[in-house]
Every structure is written in structure tokens, then in C-alpha cells.
């Protein structure tokens, strides 16, 4: 039987244009055999959740470098809950102070990756969480 590929949505919520990290991660995941969709900049939480549902992804990867994560990440998780999406995992990355991480995890983010992350750590985490 053909192995089903893990599907990932890489999304840029908020207004910041720093997409180097998002694009590098997207390519690394693709090179690791996953199907990757990248949203482009300035996505609202609603747009991100809609795309995730439409594309039927396993993972949502959020990238933000403006400091708006405390507001926008929980917003996205709330919308997922409202849509009764329970089989997607959400990970995040960017310039995110350590003291914000416990709260984000409590809101339901599986892992936060900060500057200096090795893309293989992201790949491993996804593969471990999504067994196909």
C-alpha cells in the first residue's frame, strides 16, 4: 500500500513580513517527504483555519516575529476548537520569549521553535506525533 504523506500548512498570521523562516521550514518539510502548503503573508486566524480544513492538513505550523503571538496563536486554537477540529496538531515558531511558551502550550500549541532551531527537530516532532 502506498504510504500517505503527512500534510502541513505553514501559515503567517499577523502583519509581519519575515517569511524567511517559514519558507525555509516549508522546504525542509517538503524535502522530508511531506506535502506542504504555504499561505503567504498577513493571514487572519479565520483564513488560516479555513485553509487548514479545506486542505485537510495534519499539521499547522505558525510563524510570527512581531510579538503578536500571544494574541493570534490562542485565537487560532479557539477557532479550531469551535470547528471541532481535534486531529490537527499546531506548532509555532519565531521570536517568542521563553516566558510566553507555557501559556501558548496550555492553549494547545504542541511545540514552539525559537531562533537557532534545527529543521530536523521539527521534522522529527511531526513524524513522532503524526503516525501514518
Amino acid at each position: 500500500m502506498e504510504e500517505k504523506k503527512i500534510r502541513v500548512l505553514i501559515a503567517k498570521p499577523g502583519l509581519d513580513g519575515h517569511d524567511r523562516g517559514a519558507k525555509v521550514v516549508a522546504r525542509a518539510l517538503r524535502d522530508a517527504g511531506m506535502e506542504v502548503i504555504y499561505t503567504g503573508l498577513r493571514q487572519t486566524p479565520k483564513q488560516i483555519v479555513e485553509t487548514a480544513i479545506q486542505e485537510d492538513v495534519d499539521v499547522i505550523g505558525l510563524s510570527i516575529l512581531s510579538g503578536a503571538h500571544t494574541h493570534l496563536f490562542p485565537e487560532i486554537l479557539k477557532l479550531l476548537k469551535e470547528n471541532q477540529i481535534e486531529d490537527m496538531i499546531v506548532i509555532g515558531g519565531g521570536v517568542i520569549p521563553e516566558e510566553d511558551i507555557p501559556e501558548l502550550k496550555k492553549a494547545g500549541i504542541v511545540e514552539i521553535f525559537t531562533p537557532g532551531t534545527d529543521t530536523r527537530d521539527i521534522i522529527n516532532l511531526i513524524k513522532e506525533k503524526i503516525k501514518k
Binding site: 499577523g14 502583519l15 509581519d16 513580513g17 519575515h18 517569511d19 524567511r20 519558507k23 525555509v24 516549508a26 522546504r27 525542509a28 517538503r30 506542504v36 504555504y38 499561505t39 503567504g40 503573508l41 498577513r42 487572519t44 512581531s66 510579538g67 503578536a68 500571544t70 494574541h71 493570534l72 521570536v95 520569549p97 521563553e98 516566558e99 525559537t114 531562533p115 537557532g116 534545527d118 529543521t119 530536523r120
Partner: protein
Amino acid sequence: MEKEEIKNIKQTKEQWENTILKKTLEKFPERKEKFFTGSGKEVARLYTPIDLEDFEYEKNLGFPGNYPFTRGVQPTMYRGRFWTMRQYAGFGTAEESNRRYRYLLSQGQTGLSIAFDLPTQIGYDSDHPMSMGEVGKVGVAIDSLEDMEILFKDIPLDKVSTSMTINAPAAILLAMYMVVAEKQNVSPDKLKGTIQNDILKEYIARGTYIFPPAPSMRLITDIFKFCSQEIPLWNTISISGYHIREAGSTAIQEVAFTLADGIAYVQAARDAGLDIDEFAPRLSFFFNAHNDLLEEVAKFRAARRLWAKIMKERFGAKNPKSQMLRFHTQTAGCTLTAQQPDNNIIRVTLQALAAVLGGTQSLHTNSRDEALALPNEDSVRIALRTQQILAYESGVAETVDPLAGSYYVETLTNEIEEKALEYIDKIDKLGGVITAIEKGFIQQEIQNSAYQYQKEIEENKRIVVGVNKFQINEKYPEGLLRVNPEVGRRQIEKLHALKKTRDNQKVQDSLTDLEKAAKSDANLMPYILNCVRAYVTLGEICDVLKKEFGEYKESVKL
């Protein structure tokens, strides 16, 4: 150098290679098979006059302040005056930022550099749904002239030069600055500073675009024209390679894409009927200073020489000021590590040194904690002191272009110029920079370099101290700056109060006039100034322009 002399050096070199060098290599092989610059260009073991066989001093370098300006744009460079020490700053409300500016000025900073928050940069008022969570985060929130008046309170605008990182709505923020000056009774011809106003690199790498290319280019040429008549000392654009490099480009790509953008602006202004020698002297540039010291020095020199040639040969600019590439530099934010953040002080020192050896006109040095948060006051002071130590203690500012004549630096300078020109030719063939952006060509070139860079780090081919070598277990640093979460709410309250107290008939009238002007081909600056004077908000002005101009949609390719 004489042909005969080069021949002799070649012979001696061959002898050296076959004897001394060979023996050494047998006993002590080199660390690696091949060596590369920070941008991935192969580096030879040794550079000699052989590499500069066709080198002609007068043609390649000339004298500082003279074409082709390789050695610098001023005849005496830092012997006359140091570069402007200009730290990019701004966060929270106008009140808080005003306090930070006055602190920096009291610490010996010589120019201001304003960071605006993202809603301001993208044309949203603080109460817009898209602004939620972003107000005051990466810069100061400005909704109307009222905020700008607070931002520059007790800062005499005839005494400082001010750089504003603002692009799509640059005309609006410039208008606000001019009106603040009016209220301080400072005449427009005394105003000194820069607006970034470089929309093309927003499409390429930075992302704070609003309108599509054609109306954006119109706004830019309107500004060129207006400023050349009204505020002659103002730098009307800062054509930026900084963000292109931060997005992951190489040094060569940084020069190539920045100058290609420059060509597009010059062309647009000429097409709009402007005389090149009237607007070109106010064009300025903005580059990155990355880790590879000598490659970066060569990059700045190559950019200067190539731009001079482009302006003279391609556009026929006659005024030497039109041919001069004057530039601001910021050290490379993307090289800062969250791991062992104090190490960043050393990185910033080396990068700042490259900028000074490369002849920068102004400099921002990053703070050690910027991979973690906005910098706190202590970190910003160390960053500023780094520049002061370079200026007053290192000795590198005492002579002009001290690395000129180095076989390696001159070879690198030649190579960067040559390769950048190849890119520019390619972009010309694609139909110019706007087409190249719409096709995603430039973005893709940068993404490829960024991915390559990351892979090299992960494969340990590129060492980042503290990240993939020499790691330690460390505690997360304390005392990082946090933006007060109340800022958003306070800003919205202020905005709503303003909307109740201002003359809303005046607001409507000035917006109607602006809309009419946008439909015609009138210069929009006077209309925007009228709006600003009536305390029309940034978002209201942008909404009118969006209705007329439409909005840009990026082309996403992985």
C-alpha cells in the same frame, strides 16, 4: 603593473607552489579542501598582483569624492566627520518612544531612526481588526498627526536628522513630519532626514506593501518631485538591500537586486518627466553588514563603483552627486543568536567594522538581545558604545578607505561588481525588476540562498558559535523588554477621542479632494498634507487610496 613584473611574479609563485608550499601541505594539510566566503564564493589561498593584472588605479579606484567613488563619497571621509550614529528605535506609544529618543540623544547618538509598528506600516489604524495584537509591538503606533506631535515633543527638528522606516504610506508620514516642523516654526529647507519609501524591496523581501506596483511607483515619483522643490535636503528614498540580505540573499544578490531596484526608480522618475540631476542627488541606499568582514567591505566598495557607472553610463547623469552611492548600514539581525546572546556583541562589532571600512554614511548597530525580544536600554547603550569605540579608539577612521590596494579586497570588489552586473543584465532581459518580482524570480533566488545557508548550518559546514558548536547549557536571560499590553487599548481610546474632537467636515473635504487627485495625475503630496493638517488618520487616507489604486497580492512560490 608592468607585464614583465607580473610574469616574474607568476614564475616565483609557481616555484613557491612546487617547493615550500608543497612540502608544507604534505606535512600539514589545510583545514578544509575548499574555503568559501560567507556568501559561498570560493576563496583562494593567496592573492597576489596576478589577480589584479588588469588593475588600473585611476580607473578602478580613483580618489575619494571622485568618480567612480570606490574609495568613498567624501574626499576626507571620517577625518572630516564620523558617520552618523543612528539607532533604529520605537515601540509602544508615541510618549514611550519619545522618551527613548531623548535618552539616545542624551547618550551621544547623532540622528534619529524611527521604527513604526506594523499597522502603521501597512496603513491600518490601531482600531482596525487586522491591527489586533500588533499595535506598538515592533515600533511606535502612529494614527494621526496628534501622535506624531507627541513623538517629536521637545526634539527640535532643525537640529536632528530623522530617518523613518516607512514605505507604502511614506508620503503620509513625511507629510506628518513636515506639519510637526511647521508647528515648531522650522522651515522646510532645514529639514534633514530620510524616508525609506522603497516599495520594490517590500514586494521582494519585507512584506509591508499596500498598493500594486504602478500606483506605488507614482507615489514615489510624486515624492521625488515634491521634495526636490520643497524640502531639498531630504533623502527621498533609501533603496534597501538590508532586508533582501536578511531574507537570505548572498552579498552579490544584495548588491544586484538593490541596484536593480534603484534602476527602476530612476527609470520611473525619468518617465514621469523628472530631470535626473534634480532628483538623483537625494537618492540614498541602505545595506546590511554581515559576518564576512572582508567580503562585506568589498561589497560596499563594489556597490559604490557599480552605481556610479550605472548613473553615468546608463542614465547619463552629469552631477557627481547623482553618481554617488551614499548609504546607511545596519548590522545583520539574522546573524544574531538566541544562544549565548552576549556573543552577539562581538558579531555586531565585526559587522560594524566592515561598514566603517566600507565607507558608510550612517550606521545602526544591533543589540545583543534582538534574537529574543526588542532590545532593552542597557543593550542599546552597548550597541551605541560599540560604534563610539570604533570611531574614537580603533584608529580605522583616521584614514580614507584603508583596505584599498589589498590584493584580496580588490579582487573581491571586482568579482562582486562583475557578478552583480550579470544579475542586473538578467533582470533587464526579463523585462525589468517589476516583471522579475511578479514572476517570482528574485524571491526564488533569495529563497534558494536562504535554504542553502540553513542546510550548511545543519550539516555543520557552516559553524555558528554557540548554535552548532561550543554550545553550553544556559539560563534564559532576564530583563528583556516587553511592550506594555495596554498600548493597544490606550491607542484606540486616543484615536476615538480624536475622531470626536476634530473638525470632521474638514476631514471629509480633504479626503474628497485627495480622492479626486488620485483619479487625476496630480502630485498627491499637497493633498496628503491637507489631510494630515486636518487630523485625518493614516488609515482613512490609505482607505481612500486603496479604493482608487487597489491592493497588491503577493505571488507565493516555494
